[in-house]
Symmetry: C3
Subunit: 367 residues, 3 copies
């Protein structure tokens, strides 16, 4: 999408499939919040509450909700949208100037002669691309990125500064890697010669742990990582390679900052993993799963399609499709809410129980 | 502050506003723990317990608490401090040699000709500074740092290796960025054409989720990040840019390692965010708020001034000023402590209740 | 270990100390899962379940469990192992091609003339090594790594892209640093001139917090980090330097991705810290301690030898040796399991208690 300096109201409306009203040739330089909008800005007055702030700014045009009386709001022009949050997607895509990476390969980049760089790629300063790596057409690769040997990136990827793509990793089209994201670190997989305390604790639910002095032997990661199209990976997030097979992230998944995805994990399509989520090794996750911030998933379990887990939920066992989860350990959200209510009343319950014991005891004695 | 090879007892005491006693011209090379101190070290014997270890080392001088009998401790000289932890701040500042970045610009750095570099800046090897970026006076920028186009950094900033400053970000004076810290990654903001399962789960508290197959559309981040003076950002921590307005971090905030700050977040002054804290999008946080390690804050809520949250606290709803929080979900610390006590007794309560039911049932039958 | 293109069944068995059966001269190119194995692959059929998938692939040789009827499985050759997971360690070590870093020092690396580089080291593009740093023999250092002034790395270390080793840090032999790992960031240690709200909240368990406006003063980190032999540090994990003494990680510790280790922490030998674990400042941890994903440890406490903590456990107070922990706050795993059972029944208990109160009240009135 070509990024421009300004847009008319009618151009923006057309791009969003929305209705333009008033002076549709009015020219817009930027999007703003109503209270701080300048005279050339498109104010985002997407509900009554935000519209009330229009008077504090100087906007002459706004994006408004369906049913808004845009003329009464003192506007010269407006764009009327039915699903405001969705319209924001189109509007911000239109106006995003993107990272400014000069076309071509910066002279300071270190590109192995055997690497293949697609047409139209923009590769920034001090990028390192390893032997036999393949970079798709129109890639935008910011400074200090490293791409390992034999890695394959499809067309239109965007890698911000300091992204690390490991050897042999395969990544789909339109991938966005935020600064410092790591794809293809080694899996965290260790074993002791004899049964370890962890294995014992798991087997006995913590009742029996024999202490033996032994060191951890490394299980090396021979596998790789395969990422589908249209995936985004957040800043400083990490995806480990598989042991034998690949760790897999399906098409359309969006992963936030500081997320850890363990070795051998398989994630379906269109999942959303928020900040600081941890997914342990060999977990399988279905499609359209949403894990809110700081969720954790224990190793080797299965999360069904369309599972939604609230912030901080810790999932220790398989979750069936469609389940909405909350809490640690994760239970159905409605159960957790009931438990929490009961918990707040627990100190009172304790007093009531004690009182009741006393009453009954007195009664028994009386009898 | 000029860093030197040695200091006399009286120089140190003067810098701390503390009292020097004994041979105040005694010369000190380094600070040490009492048990491992050499004859030229200043032992940190800040309480009785640490003072007892003086005999294990060879210190002739120590920093001691008010009321300590420094002569009985066998010392030649001492510095007497009233608030020991606070004195540590002055002492360590005095002795910190800091990162050794050679003055000037390293020849391997890639500085855009349009960037402005302030006087006295030290810019290390392989640093990349983008078009129209402005770096303040006396900046110290270690190797492999990238500063995006039009970013503005005030005077006396210190950026350790691999820090990523995104385009258009604005940062105040004396900012310290630990290795790998990211300022200005894109916000994690996605929307589906129709209402998503997350929106449904929120609206119905998890009872109704209709599954529809739809992909996530990106809401691009047109905003930036604005950081006040005297802020420190920990290693590999990440701060996302805002959608339309800026994400804002107020003067004097200190942020630990691996902390995630979402898009549009506004944090007041003098806050302390410890390791692995996650703050979701559009949260507003007041002044002097302290979030201990691994706390989480749900999106779009408000945390009042002076709130203190203990380790691992998950805050799902607004918190009034001055509240001390603990638990998941966060409640008043004293309530949580009461709940935890009751919880430990819960298995016993269950037995008591069952016993009581039996007693009452027998009694009822008897009647 | 020399990495080769192919191995015979008998060579592999010999390396693992395992038994080879059938055509032991059969040549193997790679290890695979049974269902996807090609005719030259060694299928990993380490239990009945995996062995059933052999028919889906084309493997002629497999690694099997003791007692497996390899001939009935249609195999030409097999390697019989007694502890399959342990055998995986040897097998993957044998087959790991490792990162391909060309021997010698890449011309784009910036090595201070005073740094000492051991024989046989391979140093990749755009690496920066500071003054007086010492790099041991046969080090493999990938692109974009930085090693600070006076840092010392023993022999055979492997640093992946973007690892940050701070000044004066000391690291043992065979250390592996995954991409973006940071050793030697500054500790997170701040103090206010007067008692802060945090100190007050701790002292009063949250009941009394006086609000005073004061800014945080930095306690600088004069200490360093010392890491024993055979330690691995995960991608984007961070280890802070100590205030006065060193932060210490013992021999054989394995640390996963996105783990935070605070200043002054001392960790014993052979510990395992999984993804997103946070260890606050001045914690002491014994030997062979295992902290599963997202565990947290409060500052200044002690964790005894052989402690095992399940995922998401938050440890707020000292833990005796051998304890198996779960929950937040951490309790014995068996206690937590009992509490969780009781919690799920809590809403029902509440109803039973209410019913009982009614019964007793009616009875009392009747009497």
């Amino acid at each position: 999408m070509q990024v421009r300096e300004s847009f008319t109201i009618s151009e923006i409306a057309q791009a969003l499939g929305a209705e333009a009203v008033g002076d549709v040739d009015f020219s817009i330089a930027a999007a703003s919040e109503p209270a701080t909008a300048g005279p050339d800005d498109l104010a985002l007055a997407l509900d009554e509450q935000h519209a009330q702030k229009l008077g504090d700014g100087r906007a002459q045009a706004a994006m408004v909700w369906q049913g808004a009386d845009w003329q009464a709001l003192g506007l010269k022009a407006a764009i009327i949208v039915t699903r405001p949050r969705y319209a924001m997607s189109g509007l911000t895509a239109l106006m995003d100037r993107g990272p400014q990476i000069a076309p071509g390969i910066h002279p300071s980049a270190v590109i192995d002669p055997s690497a293949q760089i697609g047409p139209g790629a923009a590769i920034g300063p001090l990028v390192v691309i390893g032997p036999d790596a393949r970079i798709g057409a129109r890639a935008r690769i910011a400074s200090h990125v490293s791409v390992g040997a034999e890695a394959e990136l499809a067309e239109d990827v965007l890698l911000y500064s300091g992204v690390r793509i490991g050897a042999r990793v395969r990544i789909g089209a339109r991938f966005i890697g935020q600064p410092g994201a790591v794809v293809g670190s080694d899996g965290f997989s260790f074993v002791t010669p004899e049964k370890s305390s962890v294995e014992q604790a798991r087997d006995s639910l913590g009742t029996e742990v024999e202490r033996t002095v032994q060191s951890w032997m490394r299980i090396h990661s021979l596998g790789t990582v395969e990422i589908g199209d249209d995936v985004e990976l957040g800043a400083n997030s990490t995806i480990d390679r598989g042991t034998i097979r690949a760790t897999r992230i399906g098409r359309g998944c969006k992963i936030d900052n500081l997320v850890q995805i363990g070795h051998n994990v398989e994630i379906g399509e269109d999942c959303l993993l928020c900040g600081l989520v941890g997914v342990a090794g060999s977990v399988r996750i279905g499609n359209r799963v949403v894990l809110a911030g700081q969720c954790g998933v224990s190793d080797n379990i299965f999360i069904g399609d369309d599972v939604v887990a609230g912030g901080g939920t810790k999932i220790y066992s398989n979750a069936p499709a469609g389940r909405v989860l909350l809490g640690s350990p994760a239970v159905k959200m409605e159960t957790e809410i009931e438990i929490r209510k009961a918990l707040r009343r627990l100190p009172r319950m304790r007093k009531q129980l004690a009182q009741l014991q006393k009453t009954v005891s007195e009664q028994t004695q009386k009898d």
